[in-house]
């Protein structure tokens, strides 16, 4: 039996053949006959009344075909669009702008350069209005009102857990720590920006929309719903998500540019391309985080008792978060983390400000990073307040392996875990006790060295459908597999890879289940005309949902293959046994039929009473989420003269259950670590009181290069998910979720003896030096 390289094999990626030859097909590579180009004029003000848009200044530019304004769109009732959180946002404004870089008008022209010329030439008259950028100030009485259609800047109040019981438990605790922390605005900054090509066929009344989207099917449904009044129906909309140059959550939302380009294609009768530039991407696309958290955590006798989180969420001018619809704060209530505690309460108040809309994930499952950051910082503080080493304190307070499945006080049923094993492994790998001894010596010499731990638990893979939906669409996902007569296969999925390697991973799952080699399986995603319906790829959900669907669909195929094998072998089905890729008669291993032989028979010699063909579909509704976890230990050295933090060691032990392709899994962890360490040290988007952005281009927004990215060492433990068909859990985001708190805990640890109790992120040299200086510990040279 030839090895088919299913689970556990580091198979080289099928998709790489085109990528390394420059033959990927990304959005900007799509060129249709007669295509026009769209560029957008944006607001220099964070809040202003538009008194006049001088179309004629743009229309005078050679090559400009049309100017699209809010008034153009209003005629089609498309000047506003719904957000995924049932709020609304402007596509183009009628008379006011609400944040800097907001779309004001669009110019369509025969070339990219002419469109840019037109957008630059377009003159707009503004009357600036008062601006509010601080969400706390926005909640004050008499604050500038951001939204003309709302009574206040308060968007929503959401809470979970028992506040009274939590207060009582905190009051009964012998130790309570309290800390405010801000997780600032950051941006996923995938190297490919967002864009689309909209192609309206007026004769057939058909729209083809090439789109940088992580969720093509859901987008098609949303487009059908918001354009139904124009006579556009779902069967006349084809969304194609081509190769995607990184997503990380930033390609989940619908951006105004997509809608404008679509309208422009309808208006001009020609295909229209819109590709945002990097500055537009950073300045106007959905941001992540911006949570202001007040946290309290108590213990009694060294045992954690209760957690309270009160949070102000700055959503900018519209709540355009991308959460499951019932969860305005995502899965933030995973905030009890890896610990067994009896009481918890969490609240979030969403606030409007004059900033771009959003609240999406930054490579994370719906606010899980915010939750992990809060609990991991607080556990560290509480350990110290108890006079205990943070590792020992964690080990004593973890949910124990025998408590799984574990129902947290906030209602999640954790499927599996062994947190102590992961932390102990990480401590062994880094030599934790030796590092502590070294730290003591260094401290005596006046050197700053710190060790930080983060023992995170994630919650990924939404559904299940009883809990999770997006605008009513249940969060299942799908796989459709068809075996061709020669035993080769095509498999299509409702998800959409943005670099995760689905073409390889899914093929390996099918290979494991059916014994067809991965190279014989063509995997396709992203075309709503051909792929089965699914909710897309984000929140580490592809393997937990569509990956599971691949296994289930394969098993359906195997069940039919067994009937065909019985027919071919003239044996009773009950007498057949399966080994990978082959059915054989029990006790006569030589009497068998391979899956390839069976596939051929399915089209050439299928048994009477059974339909021909060999294919199956699964819409997989997971019974629960999966709960990957891990422990990260970070050692830093800090320069007293510059405040620079240098990560000397970083050990990451991850447990994502069964690893399908270890090479790809490790690649995901590598990328996640880089994107986890970056916000801790470098990345931030901030605003001055007038709403002017800092961090709106790649000169100011510090995506780390290979020089800033530190070394790390990976380790693993394997605790299979008990409910996933192959025991796998999501992994794409674990490291982004777990890493930031480890780095902050390490820096605070380095400065603890000086009196520092907390550091906000990013911990830039300036911020660290200020902390040193404040505590009289900055070196002067």
């Amino acid at each position: 039996m030839a090895k088919c390289r299913g689970l556990g094999h580091s198979v080289q990626r099928k998709e790489d053949a085109r990528f390394i030859r420059g033959q990927g097909r990304y959005i900007d590579d799509i060129k249709l006959p007669g295509m026009l180009y769209l560029d957008i004029t944006r607001s220099p003000y964070a809040h202003a009344k538009i008194t006049k848009i001088h179309d004629e200044t743009a229309l005078a530019v050679p090559g400009v075909a049309a100017v699209i304004t809010g008034k153009t769109l209003e005629a089609y009732n498309l000047a506003w669009m719904p957000t995924l959180m049932s709020d609304q946002q402007m596509v183009l404004p009628i008379d006011t702008v609400k944040y800097q870089a907001q779309e004001v008008a669009a110019v369509v022209a025969t070339s990219r350069y002419a469109a840019a010329d037109g957008a630059a030439a377009l003159e707009v008259d503004y009357e600036p209005l008062p601006v509010v950028v601080d969400p706390h100030a926005a909640l004050e009485p008499g604050a500038t009102r951001v939204r003309d259609d709302k009574d206040s800047n308060h968007i929503f109040h959401w809470e979970h857990g028992d506040r009274e019981a939590t207060e009582a438990a905190l009051a009964a605790s012998d130790t309570v720590v309290e800390q405010a922390m801000h997780l600032p605005r950051i941006h996923v900054a995938s190297i490919e920006t967002c864009g689309c090509v909209a192609s309206w066929n007026p004769v057939e009344g058909h729209l083809t929309l090439y789109l940088t989207t992580q969720a093509p099917h859901a987008i098609r449904t949303v487009v059908a719903l918001v354009t139904a009044h124009l006579g556009l129906a779902e069967h006349r909309i084809r969304v194609i998500s081509p190769d995607i140059g990184g997503g990380f959550g930033g390609k989940v939302p619908v951006y105004p540019g997509y809608v404008i380009a679509t309208a422009a294609s309808v208006v001009t009768g020609k295909p229209v391309k819109w590709i945002e530039d990097r500055s537009e991407n950073l300045q106007a696309d959905s941001f992540a985080r911006d949570y202001h958290i007040k946290a309290r955590l108590g213990s009694k006798g060294g045992k954690i008792t209760a957690l309270s989180l009160d949070t102000i969420a700055d959503h900018g001018y519209s709540d355009a978060a991308a959460n499951p619809s019932k969860f305005p704060a995502g899965l933030y209530h995973i905030c009890t983390g890896s610990y067994d505690l009896s009481d918890a309460h969490v609240s979030v108040d969403g606030v409007y400000t004059n900033k771009p809309p959003g609240g999406i994930a930054y490579r994370c499952s719906f606010r899980v990073t915010e939750a992990v950051h809060a609990i991991e910082r607080m556990v560290d503080l509480l350990a110290r307040e108890n006079g205990e080493d943070p590792a020992d304190f964690r080990l004593r307070n973890f949910i124990r392996p025998d408590q799984f499945p574990y129902t947290s006080v906030l209602g999640w049923e954790y499927d599996s875990g062994d947190y102590g094993a992961a932390l102990e492994k990480a401590m062994d790998m880094i030599g934790y006790r030796d590092l502590r001894a070294e730290q003591t010596e260094k401290r005596a010499r006046g050197e700053l060295m710190g060790i930080g731990i983060s023992s995170f638990t994630e919650i990924v893979g939404a559904g299940p459908s009883k809990t999770f939906d997006i605008l009513g669409i249940k969060m299942f996902d799908s796989s459709e597999i068809r075996i061709h007569p020669t035993g080769k296969a095509i498999a299509r999925f409702g998800t959409k890879s943005q670099g995760q390697g689905h073409e390889t991973t899914y093929a390996q799952i099918i290979a494991e289940e059916l014994g067809i080699p991965p190279e014989d399986i063509q995997v396709e995603e992203g075309d709503t005309d051909t792929a089965p319906y699914g909710l897309g790829t984000y929140a580490s959900r592809s393997t937990p949902t569509a990956g599971a669907a691949a296994a289930i669909a394969s098993r359906k195929i195997r069940a039919k293959a067994k009937k065909i094998a019985a027919h071919l072998l003239e044996a009773d089905e009950a007498d057949l046994e399966w080994e990978q890729g082959r059915f054989f008669v029990k006790g006569s291993p030589d009497r068998g039929k391979t899956i390839q032989e069976i596939a051929f028979a399915a089209y050439t010699n299928h048994p009477q009473g059974l339909e021909a063909g060999l294919e199956a579909t699964s819409y997989y509704d997971p019974p629960n989420l999966t709960f990957p976890f891990g422990s990260y230990v970070c050692a830093v050295d800090i320069d007293r003269g510059t405040g620079q933090v240098r990560i000397r060691r970083f050990v990451a032990v991850d447990d994502c259950g069964v690893r399908i392709n270890p090479m790809i899994v490790e690649g995901q962890i590598h990328g996640g670590l880089a994107m986890g360490i970056a916000p801790a040290l470098f990345e931030e988007i901030s605003y001055d009181p007038d709403g002017n952005i800092t961090g709106g281009n790649f000169v100011e927004y510090l995506v780390p290069t290979a020089m800033e990215t530190p070394h790390w060492e990976l380790g693993e433990t394997v605790t299979p998910s008990p409910h996933h068909p192959i025991g796998a859990k999501g992994v794409g985001e674990s490291a982004t979720v777990g890493a930031p708190a480890a780095v902050v805990n390490a820096v605070v640890d380095a400065l603890w003896h000086l009196g520092v109790r907390h550091m906000e992120i990013p911990m830039t040299p300036a911020r660290v030096w200020s902390a040193l200086n404040e505590h009289g510990a900055a070196a002067t040279r």
Binding site: Q12, R13, E15, D16, A17, R18, F19, I20, R21, G22, Q23, G24, R25, Y26, D28, D29, K31, R112, Y113, V188, A189, S190, I191, E192, T193, D243, I244, G245, G246, F248, D277, R278, S279, Q498, G499, Q500, G501, M663, I664, E666, G667, H670, G671, G672, L673, A674, M675, N697, F698, V699, V703, T705, A706, M707, T709, W712
Partner: protein
Amino acid sequence: MSSHHVTIQVNGEEHAREVEARLLLVHFIREELGLTGTHIGCDTTSCGACTVLLDGTPVKSCTVLAVAAGGSRVTTVEGMGNGELHPVQQGFTEKHGLQCGFCTPGMMLTSKALLEANPDPQEDEIRWGISGNLCRCTGYVNIVKAVRRAAEIMKESKENGDG
């Protein structure tokens, strides 16, 4: 806008065009020649997705005017291997040095030039060498390994007298 006649040799083939003075080399490559393997990732010459070799030297083609490249030799990802995979392309595949593939062409061309200047680079030299190219997916670990692997392949091929 003034128009200029330029002839640029791209991947060994001469291309003559009338172009606007302001036309960027990256747009010349992508739009005029249809070689879409060269990508655009920013507007501040920061990310390196548009890196090509100009007379053998890596440049960010978003910051070079097509007219300035007149008379020069340009190598893009499409011309890396002369029909076969270049050792750098092999290294990136073997070591999982790419994920979404968007930074990859620029990253590989920078690596190719790095290896031509330094056939046996150590990790810190590789990290420094590719620090003008941003990758958001890989954390750079496997890119470093890929470049090391490419160096090995080039060395083996030289020892075997192929190169």
